[in-house]
């Protein structure tokens, strides 16, 4: 009995504690990301953004959450009830489980697995199910069209993301996220792989269905697309999932290109700041770019989106894989 306690239950309890330690701040971060988005876009459009709830509108996300929580959940008559309710859960859970492998600092990671980056790729490729299930189960044309658009878009851009990841992996020589970050000590991959960083930013905008690629929820043609039939908490889960995915994708961008928890330069005053702080600052920067794109760029047309994904980003990132591996082999710089 003693071995069961020390061998199984206690480690399990510790893991649950760590999960809460990651998930709860993440929820708060996500809530305040919506606040930041409204404030930043407000500033860019010479407005004030939310101002009335709490000082500087700081309690606005909480008010929004409470409002959504107390609304009625409406399930359409023609809907496939089980799948309809499962879809937002799938979206939300998938947005959350990706965080298991994200290293916040040296050794500060829940699951330091060897195939971390593949795990993230697998999780992000599953994200399409929440949307496609929602679109199908709603039994509504708008929702179905939105779901189809979204899944086509996500699959297209995932291929580009996969190739970009391969370029980074060849350079780092590992699938483990912590080792990828450690391999960037001294030279962040944004410098040698700058074009890939730009493509990755474009691809994650499309992958998370954000502006200017938010065609799945194109309100002027699809009245918000796949989540049109959802209300109350089921809608809130989609909303949370989308923002959580934004933060997750930003974290991946930071790990792959911006040196994770490493300070920009290994000199005295910068090394004093602990790694997780650097990590969070960098994630905030990428998130700012997300919001910046939303405030600046008009929406793409759907055929242009597909052309960009398949005819420009995909060949270019494939070429970059060949270039990177050729360079590394020729100069004998392959990681051992």
């Amino acid at each position: 009995m003693d071995s069961l306690w020390t061998g199984t239950i206690w480690p399990l309890a510790v893991i649950v504690f760590y999960i809460l330690l990651i998930a709860v701040p993440l929820m708060v971060a996500m809530a305040y990301l919506t606040y930041a988005e409204r404030k930043i876009i407000g500033a860019m459009q010479l407005r004030q953004g939310p101002m009335t709830v709490g000082p500087y509108g700081l309690l606005q996300p909480i008010a929004d959450g409470v409002k959504l929580f107390f609304k009625e959940t409406v399930i359409p008559t023609g809907a496939n009830k089980i799948v309809f309710v499962m879809a937002p859960m799938v979206t939300f859970i998938l947005a959350l489980v990706g965080w298991a492998v994200i290293p916040f600092g040296a050794g500060i990671v829940l699951a330091d697995i060897n195939v971390g980056i593949l795990y993230l790729l697998a999780i992000s490729s599953l994200g399409v199910y929440g949307i496609i299930m929602a679109g199908w189960a709603s039994n509504s044309r708008y929702a179905f069209l939105g779901a189809l658009r979204s899944s086509a878009q996500m699959i297209s851009y995932e291929i580009a993301i996969g190739l970009i990841i391969i370029s980074v992996l060849i350079t780092a020589g590992s699938l483990n996220l912590s080792e990828i970050v450690m391999a960037q000590d001294g030279l962040w991959y944004i410098i040698p792989h700058f074009p890939m960083f730009m493509i990755f930013m474009v691809a994650i905008l499309a992958e998370t269905n954000r502006h200017p690629f938010d065609l799945p929820e194109d309100e002027s043609t699809l009245v918000t697309g796949y989540n049109v039939e959802y209300s109350s908490m089921t809608f809130a889960l989609f909303f949370l999932g989308e923002y959580m995915n934004m933060i997750l994708m930003s974290a991946i961008a930071v790990i792959l290109f911006l040196g994770g928890w490493l300070p920009p330069l290994n000199i005295f005053p910068l090394t004093l700041i602990p790694g997780p702080i650097w990590f969070i600052l960098k994630v905030c920067f990428v998130l700012f770019c997300f919001i910046w794109a939303r405030a600046t760029l008009p929406r793409y047309r759907y055929d242009q989106l597909m052309r960009l994904g398949w005819k420009i980003l995909l060949p270019f990132s494939l070429l970059w894989v060949v270039l990177t591996s050729g360079f590394l082999v020729y100069f004998d710089m392959l990681p051992r």
């Binding site: 061998g7 697995i113 593949l118 490729s125 199910y129 179905f144 699938l175």
Partner: protein, 202 residues
Amino acid sequence: MTPHLLLFYLFATVAVAAAVMVVSARNPVHSVLFLILTFFNAAALFILIGAEFLAMVLVVVYVGAVAVLFMFVVMMLNVNFVRMRQGFLQYLPVGGLIGVILLVELILVAGTWVVADTPEAIEPRPTTAGLTNTEALGNVFYTEYFYLFQAAGVILLVAIIGAIALTLRDRGNIRRQDIGEQVHRDRASAVQLRKVKSRAGI
């Protein structure tokens, strides 16, 4: 009973149950969803035996890509399974024959099994000492089986080209967008200023 064994039975049971549901569910979309559940549990079983790379690839390729295509097809085609079942008896002899052959093959495979003395003997073991899964696979793929690996890639490429060649046909009325041409339009060719008389039109 170790937790490891408990997890194995959990995943294995769910996998088999979901596989049964794939063929017995009335709604084809539910079938695909159960298929995904089966893939997932298979991936979990891979992880239990220490094959993490295979597990992830299974999820990325089968769940992330193949099952999505299934889902698309099933959702778009509107298959009526009740009507398909009407011809069930007609296909029973052929289907039954194939089933029996598969069963015999499975029994032949199962006959070669050796039962381990202790559960510890079949606990997960890393393939090669000191190497991760990915490295071990890569070492084999790109050395011993290099030509076969490349040949598999070429076969896939041919399959892709074949699929495109089968479906691509010029319907004659496709209007293609020429981005270069669009970008090179200037004011002189795009804008025309005219004086229009009232009630005359152009």
